[in-house]
């Protein structure tokens, strides 16, 4: 079955620390992969996307993500977290049928 999992429901990091949010997908081929961020009371904003080619993709706000086919993963990283990064993060994949499937989300809290 096609699915996206985010193993961490909630993560807390200190401001300035590094961050990695995990995402795993289940699909028979390589999907298109996305990370979205949802700040409190806001809509969803696209952080970055992977289609093919270089497995390390850069996004907005200093985020990057690495696609690892062998692990069916697309983890999101940031070297130094800012307090404004506190938000809900959603990993998503788009299959050949064009329907985007979202993971359950990871809530990020940042300690000053």
């Amino acid at each position: 079955a096609q699915s996206v999992t985010q193993p961490d429901i909630h993560i807390t990091v200190s401001e300035g620390a590094s961050l990695e949010l995990r995402c795993n997908y289940s699909y028979g081929a390589t999907p298109y992969l996305f990370w979205y961020v949802q700040s409190p009371g806001q809509g969803l904003q696209l952080l970055l996307k992977y289609f093919s080619g270089d497995t390390l993709v850069q996004g907005i706000k200093g985020f990057e993500a690495e696609f690892k086919r062998s692990q069916s993963s697309f983890n999101l990283r940031k070297p130094s977290v800012h307090w404004s990064d506190a938000a809900e993060y959603f990993c998503a994949m788009k299959t050949s049928y064009d329907k985007v499937i979202f993971g359950p989300g990871t809530s990020l809290s940042v300690i000053p």
Partner: protein, 113 residues
């Protein structure tokens, strides 16, 4: 407009009433999606329109929910005989064909009292 527009931004309705939510996608975007997000939850797929193809309604939770889209323009999501469990933020998104991700609207917060 430049983004996906949803109206109303907030809606409070009495249990049993019908509500209609509107989504204006980005001009030229052939695909339009509706999602539901309950408080503290992830995104629940409802329905997907792609051009003139038959919509994918596989996510609609009951026959009280329906949606329409005229061509590649505005879509309306209708909830009949609303129940308290329908309270959620209803998000609309649109995309062009192929590899692009979605562009989301700000959502309609529906509260059924």
């Amino acid at each position: 407009g430049a983004g996906v527009s949803q109206s109303p931004s907030n809606k409070v309705t009495e249990k049993g009433k019908d509500v209609e939510l509107r989504c204006d996608p980005i001009s030229g975007h052939t695909a339009l999606y509706w999602y539901r997000q309950r408080l503290g939850q992830g995104l629940e797929f409802l329905i997907y329109f792609q051009g003139n193809s038959a919509p994918d309604k596989s996510g609609l939770p009951s026959d009280r929910f329906s949606a329409e889209r005229t061509g590649e323009s505005v879509s309306t999501l209708t909830i009949q005989r609303t129940q308290q469990e329908d309270s959620a933020v209803y998000l609309c998104a649109s995309s062009s064909e192929g590899k692009d991700g979605y562009t989301f609207g700000s959502g309609t917060r529906l509260t059924v009292v």
